[in-house]
């Protein structure tokens, strides 16, 4: 073969690739798969259920009721002068989205080992489809939140809605990316050592208590504030609450910090993810 050196190949399979070769263009060529995966998740989830998507109303509704009773009436944690059901539902809506993204993406490799072992496609499609499917569920839960806001508006509650409402789409995107980043990082780490799965199951629950979901940041004593402030979700949750309910801390520099943490984490996790996806079938 005289000219093999000069021939152009469409694909070269090799053991080592650069850390920075993330093949995002390949991801784009599989966008139809992403769309179909989202559709599949949505259809498959409600096949043979009676209530269908209504289940998305019930879960936050009941959780809110429990929170009102436990944290509001019994523990008497203040809610920044926001009616308790609104306060909890608002925090829960965002928190649910984050934890659904995190939980859904963190078992990417293990849950899809069967299909990954049989056919190649960019593995990132799966976690991305989880994030998008959950965005649809977030939309449904958002309707519930809006309905409750309308109810309070009719009763005469003043929301002071202003320009801060523009934070909402920003916050949702950052929360989605953060959930994705943490989720795929964990999924990459669990392919060989399953210890992380055990950790995950309670770490997510504990993280909620380190996020202002059941309490406002203003209620936190000064000496713990720095600790809670390390959690990027803290600033995102506060800004989200401010945008919707008109009460909550919007600290631009700390939101900047959250965005930075999220983007760094995302870059690192995609790099690790694309390393692991090449050989995980040997260790999963």
């Amino acid at each position: 073969m005289p000219d093999t050196q000069t021939e152009s190949w469409d694909l070269i399979i090799q053991p080592k690739t650069s850390w920075f070769n993330l093949r995002l263009n390949e991801l784009w060529s599989y966008r139809d798969l992403l769309f179909i995966m989202v559709k599949r998740d949505f259809i498959a989830a409600y096949k043979q259920t009676i209530l269908g998507p209504l289940w998305h109303f019930l879960q936050p509704l009941f959780t809110t009721i429990v929170f009102v009773i436990v944290f509001g009436r019994i523990a008497r944690i203040p809610t920044d002068n926001i009616p308790q059901p609104l306060f909890y539902l608002c925090g829960l809506t965002l928190w649910n989205y984050f934890s659904a993204c995190l939980n859904g993406t963190s078992n990417t490799f293990i849950a899809n080992a069967g299909i990954f072992g049989k056919v190649y496609f960019p593995r990132l499609i799966i976690p991305l489809s989880v994030v998008i499917s959950n965005a649809i569920k977030l939309g449904i839960q958002f309707l519930l939140l809006l309905a409750m806001m309308a109810w309070y508006a009719v009763k005469g509650y003043d929301f002071h809605i202003g320009l801060n409402i523009l934070w909402i789409p920003v916050v949702i995107i950052i929360v989605a990316l953060l959930g994705l980043a943490m989720g795929i990082l964990i999924s990459a780490l669990t392919t060989k050592y399953r210890d992380m799965t055990v950790l995950m199951s309670f770490a997510v629950q504990l993280l909620m208590y380190a996020t202002p979901v059941i309490y406002p940041l203003s209620f936190i004593p000064e000496k713990y504030k720095n600790l809670i402030g390390l959690n990027p979700l803290t600033w995102l949750t506060e800004a989200f609450r401010n945008g919707l309910l008109g009460n909550g801390l919007v600290d631009i520099s700390m939101i900047g910090y959250s965005v930075l943490v999220t983007l760094l984490l995302l870059l690192a996790s995609i790099m690790i993810f694309s390393k692991v996806e090449k050989t995980f079938m040997d260790t999963v």
């Binding site: 093999t4 190949w9 469409d10 399979i13 139809d32 179909i36 049989k118 056919v119 190649y120 050989t279």
Partner: protein, 431 residues
């Protein structure tokens, strides 16, 4: 013709055993070496992949320094016994795992069908699954839409296309899944033999479609199988893998000799040395071997040749009378025949203690091609008593001859039937 796949020095190492705390220390050691720019210490060890010999190392090479080129439009069969490295090669080519060293260079789009219906969701309708499966295999919605009618037509499931696939019969399921794959837009198609399942008629259509894909559309097909027969029928070239290395690569007409000569023997010999040997205090089995006319052990036989099955056993009690028998089963588990010794002289008289060998001969041009599993037994008729009966004792393969000297004559297509004797035909003109 141009080279579309070039495999150079391809190797793949696997670690045996469990992932546990030991693997963490190996990982750290490996990282340490890499950080200092040294070679991975575990790549130097590792042994040839041979299941029979117990290795000394936890690392084995499933593939070791494989080199080959595939030309455009070729239909290449990859054959070898279980554990030869076929699946590993397939996984690397289809990018579900990465090689340890070496490279594969590919021109054009690769579609791999390692399993029918990958990603089929039971709750979705046939229509949704066609789109889902097509997208997983790398097709765009537009491509799938333009070929949708052809796919449904080939699968023959028009009536059920809006029914969830969990209500499909397994045949319909396989047909639909294969159809998606067969109509896939790709330059190179990698197919596992599991595709050749389903009823006979559909199997013929699948193989026919694969031939079309290569002949008419100029696409390259790689077909992986442990069945020489299927490879002979479908492929223009064949690669024989053995213990992670290439034993032969040639066009299929020439490769059959290599295949017959190569040692595929894993199960044509069984030996028992300890107390686990089949038997009782009267007689104990020591060895069962399948061999050719010259008593050379072999696992693969030309259909025209005689096959000998010899069992060696030790008689532990003086003066017992017994007889020997064999059962033959084909790969579908169908009992081809049973035979017990009604010929030898020794069977009539009480046996002295000692080691004996009994051989039975299966004539050439009698068994059909395929795998034959052999069971052996020693027993008494009156009173009826079984000393041992070892089903699945050994196995061997029968490969049909395409030289015109077997029952198939010059006919090269699939040839059904449990046995394949050459019968005598007499034809007379009656008026």
């Amino acid at each position: 013709m141009s080279t579309v796949i070039q495999v150079s020095n391809l190797s793949k190492q696997y670690r045996l055993g469990q992932v546990g705390t030991g693997s963490l220390s190996h990982d750290i050691n490996r990282l340490w070496h890499r950080a200092w720019g040294k070679e991975d210490p575990y790549l130097k060890i590792g042994e040839e992949n041979n299941r029979e010999t117990k290795g000394n190392s936890d690392y084995v090479w499933a593939l070791k320094d494989i080199n080959f080129d595939i030309e455009q439009g070729d239909r290449v069969g990859i054959i070898g016994r279980n554990g030869a490295g076929k699946s590993t090669l397939l996984k690397i080519l289809s990018r579900t795992t990465s090689p340890t060293s070496g490279s594969v260079k590919i021109k054009g789009k690769v579609a791999s069908l390692l399993e029918v219906g990958t990603g089929f969701h039971p709750d979705l309708s046939g229509r949704d699954n066609v789109f889902l499966n097509g997208a997983i295999l790398g097709m765009s919605r537009k491509d799938i839409k333009s070929r949708f009618d052809e796919i449904v037509d080939f699968a023959g499931v028009e009536r059920y296309i809006d029914t969830p696939v969990k209500r499909y019969s397994s045949g319909m399921y396989v047909r639909l899944a294969f159809a998606v794959a067969a109509y896939l837009e790709s330059d190179i198609l990698i197919v596992d033999e599991v595709l050749a399942v389903g009823d006979h008629e559909f199997q013929k259509r699948c193989l026919g479609k694969l031939s079309d894909v290569s002949n008419k559309e100029g696409r390259t097909v790689i077909f992986v199988s442990h069945n020489m027969d299927a490879v002979l029928r479908l492929c223009s070239h064949a690669i024989i893998l053995n213990n992670g290395k290439i034993n032969g690569y040639s066009n299929t007409n020439n490769i059959i000799d290599t295949y017959l000569k190569s040692d595929f023997g894993t199960t044509s010999l069984r030996r028992w040395t300890d107390d686990s040997a089949p038997g009782n205090q009267v007689v104990r089995l020591k060895e069962v071997v399948v061999h050719d006319e010259d008593y050379n052990r072999n696992e693969t036989f030309n259909i025209t040749k005689r096959v000998g099955i010899t069992m060696t056993y030790e008689v532990l009690q003086e003066d017992v009378i017994f007889t020997h028998g064999i059962n033959l089963y084909n790969s579908q588990g169908l009992n081809i025949l049973n035979s017990h010794d009604i010929v030898s002289e020794l069977r009539k008289f009480p046996r002295k203690k000692g080691v004996y060998s009994s051989t039975s001969w299966i004539p050439g041009n009698f068994l059909a091609e395929g795998t034959v599993v052999v069971g052996v037994a020693i027993f008494n008729h009156k009173p009826f008593h079984i000393h041992f009966h070892e089903l699945d004792a050994v196995a061997f393969n029968v490969v049909d001859s395409f030289a015109g000297d077997a029952a198939r004559g010059d006919y090269v297509e699939g040839f059904p039937g449990i046995v394949r004797p050459i019968l005598n035909w007499e034809t007379e003109k009656s008026n």
